[in-house]
């Protein structure tokens, strides 16, 4: 099946960047429609139909545009993801083998951490454990590139977590490799690396899923075991507070955190 030039322009553009946030995709859509004189009365419907048509056309090539939500900034993003396991992925051609080894170790240390995030110093120090040498400044640059590409996220307080692109692209891999640490959200059933968890039965829920879920009921209870649940109402201030807590404890002893991370690697 073929796509019209306006749809091709959108596809090329998403392919070249890999990920777009919710407002950029509408700006792009507007350009694609203007360029080829496509009427755009209801932009949400146009986007929906473009994405649907493009996905039908590229499914056979193991590609799909997927919408996802970042666990920390809670904004929506549109990613081009691989739907088949393959030796040849966007990630594997852009980065060198050594850089991918670093990424792999970074992902492991994030996913096995208690809260689903680690300090950025600890992240850079992963370069100490590489089989092939990588300098600290190279590791810093590399981390920035992963952050730019939304493979890795960084909170205001310098905590490093799995970016929404990694979550959506590596979900199956992480679920099978880290059965104990990679847990699905009890509500939306997709991978949840942070979120909040039940004190009793250990299920996990995305903050954005929890807020939507609890809004419809009086009193917050665990959707699974019905224990009382404490989901903070204002997510953004809670987020800052939460990170602040973690950050103070780590900055008090950044060396010991470094040791802890390296010994666990």
């Amino acid at each position: 099946m073929s796509l019209n030039p306006s749809q091709q322009m959108l596809l090329q553009s998403i392919f070249s960047t890999g990920i777009l946030n919710g407002s950029d995709i509408f700006k792009l859509l507007k350009k694609c429609c203007q360029e080829y004189d496509v009427l755009m009365e209801d932009q949400k419907n146009v986007l929906l139909s473009y994405v649907r048509t493009i996905n039908e056309a590229v499914a056979v090539y193991g590609l799909r545009i997927k919408k996802t939500i970042d666990e920390v900034d809670e904004k929506s993003y549109y990613c081009l993801v691989n739907t088949v396991e393959s030796n040849f992925t966007l990630l594997s051609t852009i980065y060198t083998q050594n850089e991918l080894d670093f990424f792999k170790k970074l992902v492991e240390s994030i996913i096995t951490s208690e809260k689903g995030n680690i300090g950025s110093i600890a992240a850079v120090n992963i370069s100490d454990n590489m089989s092939k040498k990588m300098s600290k400044s190279d590791a810093e640059d590399l981390l920035d590139r992963f952050i730019d590409g939304k493979w890795i996220g960084k909170t205001k307080n310098g905590r490093v977590y799995l970016g929404c692109r990694s979550v959506i692209e590596l979900e199956q891999y992480l679920l099978s490799m880290y059965e104990d640490n990679a847990i699905r959200c009890n509500l939306c059933k997709s991978l949840c690396t942070q979120g909040s968890s039940c004190n009793k039965c250990n299920i996990r829920i995305h903050h954005h899923c929890a807020r939507k879920y609890f809004k419809t009921m009086t009193g917050q209870k665990c959707p699974d075991c019905k224990t009382v649940w404490n989901e903070p109402e204002d997510r953004s201030s809670q987020n800052g507070q939460h990170d602040m807590d973690v950050d103070t404890s780590s900055s008090q002893s950044s060396t010991s955190e470094r040791k802890r991370t390296s010994s666990h690697m």
Partner: protein
């Protein structure tokens, strides 16, 4: 000399602000990540080295079952290629080229055979024909086989004919600035009569503050960018002049440059900077534009509509 240097100064000033006015046709630039300049160009794109991130994990092998079935199926039916197999191989080749094209290095037929077609390599001509059609219908790219010493290698050229798409494929300022520098280098070569020595090029660039012995704040290692990265991407071609000491290299447009842009576009680009509307005022360059277009028309007539726009 001075005249061209002044063009370049204006151009560079403009390119640092924006190069979106360049209607170069636009190549697919898959800068999925904002790659810093210094990290570009020194890596081999052979697939072995870039093997998938997680394949080494034994526990992940079960995930690969979807991908490994092609070898199994292939063993059962070596001689004939049924419709299902053919469709699957076409999809895999499209995917392979899309992914490998991110670095804009030409993709070799031998790589496609080795990694995807395997025992079906004999079917390459049929498969690549269908793949070319799919690229055009779905992705808006023309899959183009290179000529001469690059025969058997393929690149993707953007088929979309619009002004803004070009800038829409570059999401980082670094990519944008590099494109600007590339236009400067290509226009310089064209204005100088399609060929320039490396010494001439370096002396031009040094007037623009681009020094070979120290990394540029935006472009990084410029010598590497020009003589390795752009040569490998087929924007430029370099040959060493024989029996000259110290060694001298001649730099010309590469095949990708001819496919992504044209001499006419380049002359319009330079003229726009000068505020000149009548392109024929550039006597020798204008003659060159007309010659190249005549050659293009002729070769298009000779070899049919599918191969065009290649000019020497």
């Amino acid at each position: 000399m001075d005249r061209i240097t002044s063009i370049l100064l204006v151009m560079v000033a403009m390119t640092t602000i924006s190069v979106s006015f360049v209607s170069a046709g636009g190549g697919p630039i898959y800068s999925s990540f904002n790659t810093p300049a210094k990290n570009i160009g020194n890596k081999d794109c052979s697939c072995k080295e870039n093997s998938v991130l997680f394949l080494k994990e034994e526990r992940a092998t079960k995930l690969l079952s979807t991908f490994s079935f092609n070898t199994m199926a292939a063993k059962k039916s070596v001689p004939s290629l049924n419709q299902g197999d053919q469709d699957r191989l076409i999809s895999e080749v499209v995917r392979f080229i899309l992914v490998m094209d991110q670095k804009k290095y030409p993709i070799k037929k031998t790589e496609i055979n080795k990694h995807i077609l395997k025992e079906h390599s004999k079917s390459f001509p049929i498969i690549i024909g269908e793949v070319t059609k799919r690229f055009s219908e779905v992705f808006g790219f023309q899959l183009k086989e290179l000529e001469n010493k690059h025969k058997g290698s393929y690149i993707l050229i953007n088929e979309l004919d619009c002004d803004s798409v070009d800038s829409h494929l570059r999401w980082s300022e670094i990519e944008d600035s590099k494109r600007g520098l590339l236009m400067v280098v290509l226009s310089l070569i064209f204005m100088q009569g399609n060929e320039i020595t490396d010494c001439e090029l370096w002396s031009f660039l040094s007037k623009l503050g681009i020094k070979l012995d120290q990394p540029h704040e935006v472009f990084g290692d410029c010598k590497k960018l020009i003589t390795q990265e752009w040569v490998r991407q087929c924007y430029l071609e370099m040959t060493t002049v024989p029996n000259v000491d110290p060694p001298v290299s001649q730099i010309r447009w590469g095949q990708r440059a001819f496919l992504e842009t044209s001499k006419r576009k380049m002359l319009s680009f330079v003229s726009k900077i000068y505020g000149i509307e009548d392109l024929s005022l550039w006597t020798s360059q204008w003659a060159d534009v007309q010659d190249s277009e005549a050659v293009n028309e002729q070769s298009a007539e000779n070899s049919g509509p599918s191969t065009s726009s290649q000019s020497r």
